[in-house]
């Protein structure tokens, strides 16, 4: 039973870590936690649903179009809203992202109503791949885990090895110096929002078969993903991924062994505890601000 728990918590943990990664990419680039992550992912998942059902496209082209759409949504958020802010305190940015989230929630609820729908990925949930006495892994679980890990690796490669990743790191560390070196920091910021939106969308599409597709489906993964990012330390990409998996494991183990009702509460309580002892999360350095 324990291995089954570990497997399912790894699957959920991979979703949390995708959301946490998306949150952390924008936070690394601009010190803004993007609360609209969940709703952007949700709307893109709805777009996939519409393309699959009404548009008649098959799965992979629909996913590609959705990825494009969510990239543009991220660009839109940055370009239209965040750039114009006159008062750049962190609270006002957070409020802007929360406002965007509410708007998207309202638009999604308006357009599609709150009936739940079923999205069909080519990986079915009931086909069991691997089964022995203690463990049963369905195709969907495996696909979720594999895709999530692949995306994580891709993002790591992007950030570590490409010039774009280097530019993103430079913009986060010192905006003016990177501008002096010729890096167009506005565009880099917009691109990082777009990338994080795409990562969030992949998480949304992967989680849609598990949680049925309705406008409020991403509230819970958003909050958990955010919590995982905070747990791991928001500025360290490795940290947030580990935080996501950790959160999944803690939540499921607690839910099974002790109490299934309070598992979310305990997850959050553990996070608050960790934050008390290590105010910047597990893997992050605590920067001291100057006056």
């Amino acid at each position: 039973m324990l291995t089954q728990l570990i497997i399912s918590s790894l699957v959920i943990g991979s979703i949390y870590s995708l959301m946490a990664l998306a949150m952390s990419i924008t936070y690394k680039a601009s010190e803004i936690p993007n609360f609209a992550q969940g709703e952007m992912a949700m709307i893109s998942t709805f777009v996939t649903f519409v393309l699959l059902n009404s548009g008649g496209l098959s799965f992979y082209p629909a996913i590609l179009i959705t990825i494009l759409f969510s990239f543009c949504l991220g660009l839109l958020l940055e370009f239209v809203f965040l750039r114009r802010a006159k008062d750049p305190t962190p609270l006002s940015f957070i409020v802007i992202t929360i406002g965007f989230q509410l708007m998207l929630y309202g638009i999604a609820g308006w357009k599609w109503g709150s009936d739940q729908r079923q999205i069909n990925l080519p990986f079915s949930e009931s086909k069991v791949i691997f089964q022995n006495d203690s463990v049963a892994i369905t195709e969907l679980n495996l696909a979720t885990l594999v895709i999530a890990v692949a995306v994580l690796l891709l993002i790591f490669l992007l950030v570590q090895k490409t010039k774009l990743g280097l530019a993103m790191k430079a913009c986060q560390q010192n905006v003016n110096a990177s501008r002096m070196n010729g890096i167009p920091s506005d565009k880099i910021l917009a691109i990082s929002f777009g990338i994080s939106s795409v990562v969030g969308t992949i998480a949304g599409v992967l989680v849609a078969p598990i949680i049925t597709l309705d406008p409020s489906m991403m509230w819970d993964p958003l909050l958990k993903g955010f919590a995982a990012a905070v747990l791991g330390g928001m500025k360290s990409l490795y940290g947030v991924v580990i935080g996501g998996f950790l959160l999944g494991i803690i939540e499921n183990l607690f839910g099974f062994y002790i109490s299934i009702e309070f598992k979310s509460v305990v997850a959050f309580a553990i996070i608050v505890l960790v934050l008390y002892f290590k105010p910047s999360g597990l893997f992050d350095k605590h920067y001291v601000r100057k006056v």
Binding site: K86, F100, L102
Partner: protein, 303 residues
């Protein structure tokens, strides 16, 4: 609406004046509501239950303030968020608080005013709100309020001057929780029946309160009042958006062609979010800022 004012006052103290971020204020409101119902069920008279529930909420505010002394920015947002969620989940699960079905609130004895129950309740709430507004304004103008603003502007410098950061941050959390708790007990009285899924007690409620404070103007007492009035008015109107004189049928037609018509109530979220964004983008001081600008314009008119 008056209840919204009180919560807005409390949240504004925390967010606008002290500069902290709290996404879990609905939790304090819920604590206040349930605490006062329990007290009234145990036989305590209303004013006593009211104050006791405020104090209990303030206690939880202190408790939440302790880990928040070290946190800032998104970490603080998560901690407060966690608190708000934890409160709403826990209240929903505990059986002696009514579980998911909620509890009904006993009516208080207002016969001596000679008016109908609803009307006298309304006056009672308005009087309490006015007292809270005066109280908050006094706090903001006093030494404590100035300490809060110093913390908002630069907390390291404030500590260097000699303001005891821990004490004042805890005060701020405790005070805003106290006000939220008072609002919660008034809300319980007004609604007559409280369930853990009421809009005021969940995460969406916290965001709603934050929207009220931002709309009115961060850090200004008059701002909280204005923001609460406007936002409550908007919410009420938007619930029946089709009945609005001009915009209603237009919106209905629009949604018939492009979107589904069943979910039209969701347009209130769209408007709330849009207002939130527009206020921050164009007028960071909110409605109070508009008011001040209008006043200054008229004061300087010939020039």
């Amino acid at each position: 609406m008056a209840v919204n004012v009180i919560v807005a006052l409390g949240l504004n103290l925390l967010v606008g004046n002290t500069g902290q971020i709290s996404l879990g204020h609905a939790g304090f409101v819920a604590i206040g509501a349930y605490a006062s119902v329990m007290c009234m069920n145990a036989g305590v008279p209303f004013l006593g239950a009211f104050l006791i529930s405020g104090l209990i909420a303030a206690l939880f505010g202190f408790l939440l303030g302790i880990p928040s002394l070290k946190l800032e920015g998104p970490y603080l947002a998560i901690a407060t968020l966690a608190f708000g969620l934890a409160v709403s989940i826990l209240i929903g699960r505990m059986e002696f608080l009514g579980g998911r079905m909620g509890m009904s609130v006993p009516k208080i004895d207002l016969q001596w005013t000679g008016l109908k129950y609803d009307l006298s309740l309304y006056y009672l709430i308005i009087i309490i709100t006015i007292i809270c507004v005066i109280m908050t304004r006094n706090i903001v103008k006093s030494r404590i309020g100035r300490a809060f603003q110093a913390i908002r502007d630069s907390d390291i410098a404030a500590e260097a001057i000699g303001i005891n950061l821990s004490k004042y941050k805890l005060y701020s959390f405790g005070l805003s929780a106290f006000l939220a708790g008072l609002a919660g007990s008034l809300l319980a009285l007004y609604l007559g029946f409280i369930t853990p899924n009421s809009t005021m007690f969940t995460f969406i409620g916290s965001i709603n309160f934050l929207a009220i404070v931002v709309l009115g103007g961060l850090g200004f007492v008059a701002g909280s009042v204005m923001g609460a009035i406007v936002m409550t008015f908007l919410n009420l109107q938007l619930e029946n958006v089709v009945d609005l004189p001009l915009i209603g049928p237009l919106l209905y037609q629009f949604s018939e062609t492009f979107m589904s018509t069943t979910g039209i109530a969701n347009v209130s979220w769209v408007f709330t979010g849009l207002i939130l964004i527009l206020v921050i983008l164009f007028e960071p001081l909110g409605l109070y800022g508009l008011w001040i600008r209008a006043k200054i314009y008229w004061m300087r008119w010939p020039f």
